[in-house]
Symmetry: C2
């Protein structure tokens, strides 16, 4: 099966845009992707759309047909919701639809409006991604949940707040030239360590921000790309998904994320590739510890070894495996329902050599990892320059 | 491509079950479907799950992994939300996954908890399926929206409240022996006409009730069915989806539902069948007028002719084209995110000759039609006895 090609990508600025609706954001990203692709909107056969909490943020469910209307297409439109992995799931089904021959042209992406809810409102909203009955009603928040995972990791393998801070420093540095990023300023390890504690051992700079934004991709079949003479050198050559029990209390062990492990095994098998083939990675770093857990679960580091990677310069731009060259969720921002698509936007640009960081990072194979909740859902995609 | 087979079906009782969570409901339906199929939970490769407004009803998003856990499977789990067509969309992607060879065994279904919200709360919650900015803030509710569609239809083609009442009477009569139905009592045209007006010309008995419930199906590949020696004679031989502008004000014409037309054309083409091949139909009768609009858009009646169908006995059990033999949304009930799966549960039983109405209705080919909002989304499936 010929891999679906990324014909074009588009994104809004990520940041505090409280006055903009999801439909407004997605129209910008979707139209940018279509223009980048040189694909007329009328050729789009399906829209797959990720959104997490439009019901709470703007009293709007059933967003998929609204988004189709916003970009001026009359195609069937389907919304996916898997918390922070919503757009990743949309991409996965888009890939499978193009690959199976069900569609030649799919517009896929996501949008999230968050900052209009305020900090307390957004925190409360995000909590619906965890188990309401057994976690949220007991007072758990996501910083608290990831702090538990960090403490379990530290207890099992060792680890320091300095090592986590190095991840934040790296991702902020990566975002400096990303014009779409929420934060384009560098931070130091000292600043991160001195920042207010959120949930021990995670401080303010260990957490990603609240973000409004949208991202989109146009996926096409090889046949369509050839027929229309499109420049679409990047193929999505592997897709994988994994699941886990929802509540932390229902898992045996908190220092690993089995859903990511399962998604990675599936995606690598699907692509006929292994971790050693990958040149650059975008992982779901909603918290610094999440980057560590992801890199180990994806097979790039042994368990207990991922914590050193940023501090040791292995995952910096000049390292062996550049991670979150986009700035990651930490610095690029995390508009929840858009993030899984945004990761592929940056990775596609890197693979095509047209990313602001293309002078430093020139991958042939890239991996994108998107996770939902405390990694009860995970999806992994492998991208490769195929033409 | 061999059509996916329905290996088993399961459903909860539909009704007022305010103390039961979506996970509790789906566990019952999902496990019933697996037991009916004789498929071990460990064989399930993917869960596709429809839910509409868990965010509002029980402060719970990210429900798909919760539902996998509830039925005891560790498979990747994906939630679909397309308002009242949520489960229909889940079925559509399940069909495509099995057909393309991506999976041999998929558990697909949906659940909705509504009555714990109370009448006002559920009405308010349902409104997020319409355009919040341009419809809901202007005071629109779903009964009001469908009343506008009914008035447009009456103005264009003529029609009476008596004709609509005949649809409600038919569907209540059909549900009398359906042990899962919310209403198992007959009504008369006079009762319907005398009932309180909700939104002219629609009275109380023109509307479906608020319902809690869940439904599920096990879809398997032909190869898996053969290998495991499963009794799975019913194949899903066609799938189609259509979209439309979200808000009524953004459509040219309210007396037709183009999203259903598009879904039907696609599904019939996919199956190599036409309306004349269909022996029984389940349509999305959230309001009586919706049954009329659906039957015309599906190609079973000329425009303006569907309004007579129930009163003339064409769509009753002894008629040429039995419609909503299950009782439909009107009498079986409408747990929003489960409805699209529930329709296939009843249709499968009819095709297999094991439905409470199998003495009266013995189809070889059946159609199920699921719609979201004021039919901004629609999905159509064709089922046939293939083995």
């Amino acid at each position: 099966m010929a891999p679906p090609r990324v014909a074009g990508v588009g994104t809004t600025h990520f940041g505090q845009l409280p006055e903009r609706t999801a439909r407004d954001l997605f129209a910008e990203a979707g139209l940018a992707a279509l223009e980048d692709a040189g694909v007329p909107p009328g050729d789009v056969e399906t829209l797959f759309y990720g959104n997490f909490m439009g019901e709470l943020a703007e009293h709007q469910g059933h967003q998929a047909p609204l988004m189709a209307e916003a970009v001026g297409i009359r195609a069937p439109a389907t919304r996916f919701e898997s918390a922070c992995a919503s757009a990743g799931m949309a991409v996965r089904e888009a890939v499978r639809n193009v690959r199976s021959g069900d569609a030649d042209v799919v517009l896929v992406g996501g949008a999230e409006r968050m900052t209009n809810m305020g900090t307390a409102g957004a925190t409360e909203g995000l909590s619906i991604a965890a188990d309401d009955l057994y976690e949220i009603r007991a007072g758990m928040t996501f910083p608290g949940a990831y702090a538990l995972m960090a403490r379990a990791y530290f207890e099992e393998f060792g680890g320091t707040r300095e090592q986590l801070a190095a991840i934040a420093v790296k991702n902020h540095d990566n975002a400096l030239v990303n014009e779409y990023a929420q934060f384009q300023r560098s931070i130091t390890v000292e600043q991160a360590l001195d920042a207010p504690m959120v949930a021990e051992p995670l401080g303010l700079f260990d957490a990603c921000p609240f973000t409004d934004g949208a991202s989109a991709l146009v996926l096409v079949s090889e046949a369509y790309a050839d027929r229309e003479g499109l420049e679409a050198p990047v193929g999505i050559v592997g897709t994988g998904q994994g699941g886990d029990n929802m509540a932390l209390q229902d898992r045996n062990y908190l220092a690993r994320t089995p859903a990511t492990e399962r998604a990675a095994v599936t995606a690598f098998e699907d692509a006929g590739l292994g971790p050693g083939d990958v040149d650059a990675v975008e992982v779901h770093d909603c918290f610094t510890i999440a980057e560590v857990l992801a890199l180990e679960a994806l097979g790039f580091f042994d368990y207990g070894e991922g914590i050193d990677a940023a501090a040791d310069g292995v995952t910096t731009r000049d390292g062996r495996l550049p991670v979150n060259v986009s700035g990651g969720l930490k610095a690029k921002g995390h508009p929840v329902g858009a993030t899984g698509a945004a990761q592929l936007v940056d990775m596609t640009k890197l693979l095509e050599g047209r990313h602001p960081r293309s002078d430093d990072v020139t991958p042939e194979v890239g991996l994108a990892h998107n996770a939902g909740g405390t990694v009860a859902s995970a999806v992994v995609h492998l991208l490769e320059v195929v033409a």
